[in-house]
Symmetry: none
Subunit: 225 residues, 2 copies
DNA sequence: TTTCCATCTTAACATTAAGTTTACACAAAT
DNA sequence: ATTTGTGTAAACTTAATGTTAAGATGGAAA
């Protein structure tokens, strides 16, 4: 995998955590840098322009949330991914963290494997969503122009419909659980009713007029031709 | 949901700790097994193939770190999660532990609550990426695409049928007791009638059209070609 | 602002498939 | 011959999804 060259900045006031996390991410081939408080995090972020910043919420000088919103206000860090480390209890800051534009959060105590796999997942997601036009059979899906074409005929989908179709089509054949769909298309914190996904699936099927989404009962949906 | 049926092996030379920890994890619905030194830990791990192994670092016969690296060198334990119990001071073994591939640490003295919540967290997150395609002879079972193929021909199974087949096929040749099947596929708390498994087995046999599930009368079923 | 429009969500109900039980047949072991 | 365990088919129950239409929302145009 091309994790190489990806820079990650980790800010935490506990040396143990810095050590464990940087060791594990380093092992995966990332360039890892550390900071031990909020101010240092901002400073180093400006120097390094990392691809990903992992912020402890509770830090001296500035909290992770503060750091996040300061960085996000600058255009340079508009696209930078941010993960929060939070204490399990700290429910309120989860919400705040997400509001200030974090991409993910991981609850302490941290499992290195879990963190690494989340980081990998984030990069994986980002790498793909670079706006590649998907082409599966006679269907093409262009996330930049926001257009779906079947045999050259343009089909117009609404935002959610498009995102859902794009998700499924990004890994043809793979079954996506309803949970996965919810967290990817709607977001982890959003709670919507049981039938919402179905209805969107139905509309997609209807608009496309092609039977390319298969239901796997009790499991989820998959895209295949 | 399915913390049930998850097997945990705990190795520690202090009976008190074994008792407290297994009591607390047992209460959560895990199947808990114990070992009182390094050698016994390895032996039981091979018997049980647990989902998680909790190792005391300081043990007679073999240390937790030694046990870990021995197990990790075998493919069977490549994916098994491992947690170390360490004395707080023991900084050096942290590093060593990480090198041998542990997933988490808990420092002594242990708070049962903390340990339980870490274990739960591990299982919660890990549950996501446990999808490996099994290939036995001309049969392949892909839990990501939710597809079974025989000589390249796709066979569609329902959820329970698939889970049951996947379980049996995960250890070809091994006999699964009806109890085991029930707790792994259905969950420990679910109570279903006597013939339920048979009927599912029958449907699988029927759909596959290949005789790959063998009845071991009075014992259970096994997958073999 | 108000109105309009498309999108998104929800609720209620219909439909289908999955899963379970029942009842009995059969086979092997005692 | 009786007991025990499993196979089979059909009836039955439950769970999951499909469908439709009716609000809710929010942005754009009048």
């Amino acid at each position: 995998m091309e994790t190489k060259g990806k820079r990650i900045l980790i800010a935490d006031d506990e040396p143990d955590i810095l050590e464990i996390v940087s060791y594990n991410l380093g092992k995966e081939g990332y360039e890892v840098y550390t900071a031990k408080d909020g101010n240092e995090a901002i400073e180093r972020a400006k120097q390094l322009n990392p691809d990903l910043i992992i912020l402890d919420v509770m830090m001296p000088k500035k909290t992770g949330v503060e750091v996040c919103s300061i960085l996000r206000s600058q255009s340079l860090f508009q696209e930078t991914m941010i993960i929060f480390l939070t204490a399990l209890s700290d429910e309120a800051s989860h919400i705040k963290g997400l509001e200030t534009g974090a991409d993910d959060y991981v609850s302490k105590p941290i499992s290195p494997k879990v963190l690494v796999s989340r980081v990998n997942a984030l990069f994986r997601r980002i790498n793909k969503d670079d706006g590649k036009t998907l082409k599966i059979g006679n269907i093409s899906i262009d996330p930049v122009k926001f257009i779906v074409e079947i045999d050259g005929n343009e089909v117009i989908l609404a935002k959610k419909e498009f995102e859902l179709l794009y998700l499924l089509a990004s890994k043809p054949g793979r079954v996506f659980l309803r949970n996965e769909i919810l967290s990817q298309v709607w977001g982890m914190d959003v709670i919507v009713g049981d039938r919402t996904i179905d209805v969107h699936i139905r509309k997609i099927r209807q608009k496309l007029g092609v039977d390319c989404i298969t239901t796997v009962k009790g499991v989820g949906y998959k895209f295949e031709i």
